[in-house]
Amino acid sequence: MAEYKKLLKIIQQAEDKDTFIKQLVEAVDIEDQQQQQEIIRQLDLKLSELKQNQPEQNESTLRQMHSARLSAMGQMAAAISHELRNPLSGIKVAAEYLMRKLKNHPDAVDIIINIQNEVIFANNIITNILEHARIGKPDPERVNIKRIIEEAIITIAQQGSFNNIEIKKNISSSLPDLDLDILQIKQVFMNVFINAAEAMVGGGLLTINVLTQGSMVIVEISDTGLGIEKNNLDKLFEPFFTTKVKGVGLGLAICKEIIENHCGKIDLESKPGKGTKFTISLPIVQDCLQKN
């Protein structure tokens, strides 16, 4: 017990390698001074050798691990989505069958509508999880961001989300092209536009400003909607945080990841009752894309 306590003390109190090795060797019963010195020398060499063999957790290794984890997550997400969407399909079709048979029973119809809505909600969760897991390295093309914004507006408008909403665009005529993954960046704009539309339930104004400021391209998207409470503002980009009743909370987290993968930043300002403004800043020279 005494030997055990002695050794434990040495290990716990060690502050530098040399003193640690010396104290450790002295704690062991080696009378011969020369042999003691040899053990100290060997321990020192061995510890240095072991440290060298351990891969350093440098940035590139961490990125590779993150990438591998994302890839495994992507595969898992794919498998889960398939497994869940099959029974969901069964439930949806069964609900439709019941609707046909019970359409003259209003109480039953109400419940069946609830079932159908829950299926849609569950499916949206799956879609969000898939999107989050699938975000990988951008596959960039040289493109003007104006084109992506216009495409996103058209897609959202076709879904009917912009009914009663006026859209004002102020897009600089001298925007430089950027290296952008078109699908991913379009997803960002669609997400922000949908949030804005949902905040302007009775109608409102959506303003889109796109300009160059120094070495950055800035996109400002403002709405005249409900606005967001101050204490929610810094949580908005966190995965699974949502203020919506039926929200999943991955939309803005996905947007943040996409913009950061493009070397940019996304911020927002908001005041309850006044509206919300998203600011997306992308550098004209996107160094991080080369490193990635």
Binding site: R85, V93, E96
Partner: protein, 126 residues
């Protein structure tokens, strides 16, 4: 001689989906056959004069696109509608290259399926 009812083969290993779709299509006046895997689907196609097939891409034995490929040989005029829970781009593209009529993403709206089948029926009658 009375006109034969439009015949559809529903192929999916998910029993609730398969059997409920069968009931709905039957109520809509279609002649419906079902199969839970690729091999059974091909057997049905050998013995029945099918107008359309609703094929899940992922089946326990062979994938739905391969099933379509083999059924096409037996029934060249058959129209296929592919169902997919998770889009596997290469397979979906291959299905369309083979002449698939449409692709439905699960969970799909049964009204969409009915619309597609009625479209196929109209085309066949022209």
């Amino acid at each position: 001689m009375s006109k034969k009812n439009f015949s559809v083969l529903v192929v999916d290993d998910e029993p609730v989906l398969r059997e409920t779709v069968k009931r709905i299509l039957f109520d809509e006046g279609f002649n419906v056959f079902v199969a839970a895997d690729g091999k059974s689907a091909i057997e049905v196609a050998k013995n029945q004069d099918l107008d359309a097939a609703l094929l899940d891409i992922k089946l326990p034995d062979i994938n739905g696109v391969e099933v379509f490929e083999r059924i096409k040989v037996l029934r060249p005029n058959l129209k296929a509608v592919i169902m997919t829970a998770f889009e596997i781009k290469e397979l979906v593209n291959r299905a369309f290259e083979l002449g698939a009529f449409a692709c439905l993403h699960k969970p799909f709206d049964i009204k969409k399926l009915l619309h597609i089948l009625n479209e196929i029926k109209r085309e066949n009658e022209q």
